[in-house]
Symmetry: C2
Subunit: 328 residues, 2 copies
């Protein structure tokens, strides 16, 4: 029997989850819950239903795992604890500073209901976190580096679009190659914000907008751009849509450390992601952890988990024997 | 109280484990067991004892985990099951084809004795296996690539030294950069043995040996060199010792896969190691898993495990709360 999945929220992430489920033959999409009118939501999976969020509770016994595809700012802090009292859940909560609080809320709700929740699944937090943790456990003496990009930052693109006179915009975060190379060479550089990443903006102006004023406003915007070397390109809306329509992302997690009685040997651990679609890759990680949530719940485990707490084998459709014979 | 570690076998790996223990304040080296005369074995840790292998059983209640540092060909298949009936054990068994059999033997012995064993820990098998497994679970549709090097292959260096007229030798396995680049570019190349790695040999001749005959013999040696583009350099013993004295290694695990309803988006996951000392890095991984063995045994778990079966958090000295606050 397949693992029956529900999706709550049908944006980029929800659609990515739907696509990922189709690549995993042991899973099926049962239902998509939406805040919109279900009749206005067209999904890709013919066999799945589209229902109102308010109907979710009726599905209590008909789905094995509910995947929450809302945003971290306001949706997930409320939704994940709420639905953990009805379902096994997985979310991609990514506000790093608020993870301890979110964990506690989901843990309490899930334990009371006898359900299992996995939070903060994706690539950062998620696979990047795992790689930081493994690398730190292996090389206790060393330095950590995380670089993001080249990729589209949704938050920075939104910041550009809020500027008066900007019709549309996209922002790429780009790691500084020479900084990456210094880390790889074992130089353990101490890097400022400016030395790690550059920012490249593609901006479509409203008719008659003042390009010079807008460029200045972008480059001086605190938090978002002022601490970075920022490049601004003004382009047509058509060019934006055709040349910058995707949502690529990725990045690098590195740990440079030493071993030996006199710390005489250097080692570098590097994990890299190069992603055509940020939401689809995130979704693919989430779906693998949905398999883990299903299995852990079947074992009778309850409460909240993160990627740190879950043995890798739970993510794979293969048995332990198959994994040992083919992947070890 | 510290986790008390015993080491069985004091070669490169055993010494590496000793060094790694010193980098982990929650652990201490209690004893090294050796097949040599203990008085002839000088270890680095002043507080630890050196004992005969035959005395190991007397330490049953005085060490928490025994790390087996013998070879995979003849030592570990016998030692790991044997000592799993007395201690929690960790080994680095690396004969991939015989892992299922070794797992079964260790599992049976450990279960009967109420002990926990972790086998095949290191980087391949070990961290490379983990990365293959995670990447396959995340991207079910894709291709796997493992490249080794640049690094010293002990087996190939030994093969060179067995040739008549060769006094000493060292062999480097080198990944072909253009093949790596083709994988990174998402080309999903089908690569022959020759297209993935080259082999570079540094050979010291015996007085009066026939260099041309030896070079031919190397390049035509089946399994070891015939299927590769092999380069042979004849050098002095002094150059070998000063320029090629280290035991560096490393490599790359890549998975290139697709997502999306029409498989329209490509993703690349790459894990890379660059190691000054192969045995010291392997030891560092083993010591992190010794922490896991200790904790799992404390929970009452018994039997055999591999890296696939162990939740990452067990490797870290930090608590779950600390990990969530600092690394997620």
């Amino acid at each position: 029997m397949s693992i029956r999945i529900g999706i709550l929220g049908y944006g980029n992430l929800g659609r990515g989850v739907e696509c990922a489920i189709r690549q995993n033959p042991d899973m099926e999409l049962a239902v998509v819950f939406t805040r919109r009118n279900p009749e206005d939501v067209r999904i890709l999976t013919e066999t799945a239903k589209v229902c109102r969020v308010s109907e979710a509770e009726q599905w209590k016994d008909n789905i094995d795992v509910l995947i929450l595809c809302g945003g971290s700012a306001t949706d997930l802090p409320v939704q994940t604890p709420k639905y953990a009292s009805l379902f096994n859940v997985v979310d991609s909560f990514d506000t790093h500073a608020r993870i301890p609080e979110h964990f506690a809320n989901v843990d309490e709700a899930a334990k009371q209901a006898g359900k299992l929740g996995i939070i903060s699944v994706g690539w950062d937090p998620g696979m990047f976190s795992l790689n930081r943790m493994y690398a730190n456990a292996i090389l206790p003496e060393g330095s950590d580096y995380t670089f993001w990009g080249k990729g589209v930052s949704q938050g920075h693109s939104d910041a550009l679009r809020r500027i008066e006179g900007v019709k549309n915009a996209k922002q790429y975060t780009i790691p500084v190659e020479s900084a990456l190379e210094a880390v790889r060479a074992g130089e353990n550089p101490v890097l400022t914000t400016r030395q790690k990443h550059t920012r490249e903006c593609f901006v479509v102006l409203e008719e008659g907008a003042d390009a010079a004023r807008i460029e200045k406003e972008i480059k001086e915007m605190p938090n978002y751009f002022a601490d970075y070397d920022t490049t601004v390109h003004f382009i047509s809306e058509e060019e934006l849509l055709t040349q910058h329509g995707g949502i690529p992302h990725g990045g690098f997690v590195l740990r440079s450390g030493v071993t030996g009685w006199n710390r005489e040997n250097r080692h570098l651990i590097e994990y890299r992601l190069k992603l055509d679609s940020n939401p689809e890759f995130t979704s693919s990680v989430i779906v693998a952890y949905a398999r883990a949530a299903y299995r852990l719940a079947k074992e009778g485990q309850t409460g909240c988990r993160t990627v740190f707490d879950i043995a890798p084998a739970y993510l794979s459709p293969k048995t332990g024997e198959e994994l040992r014979a083919t992947m070890l």
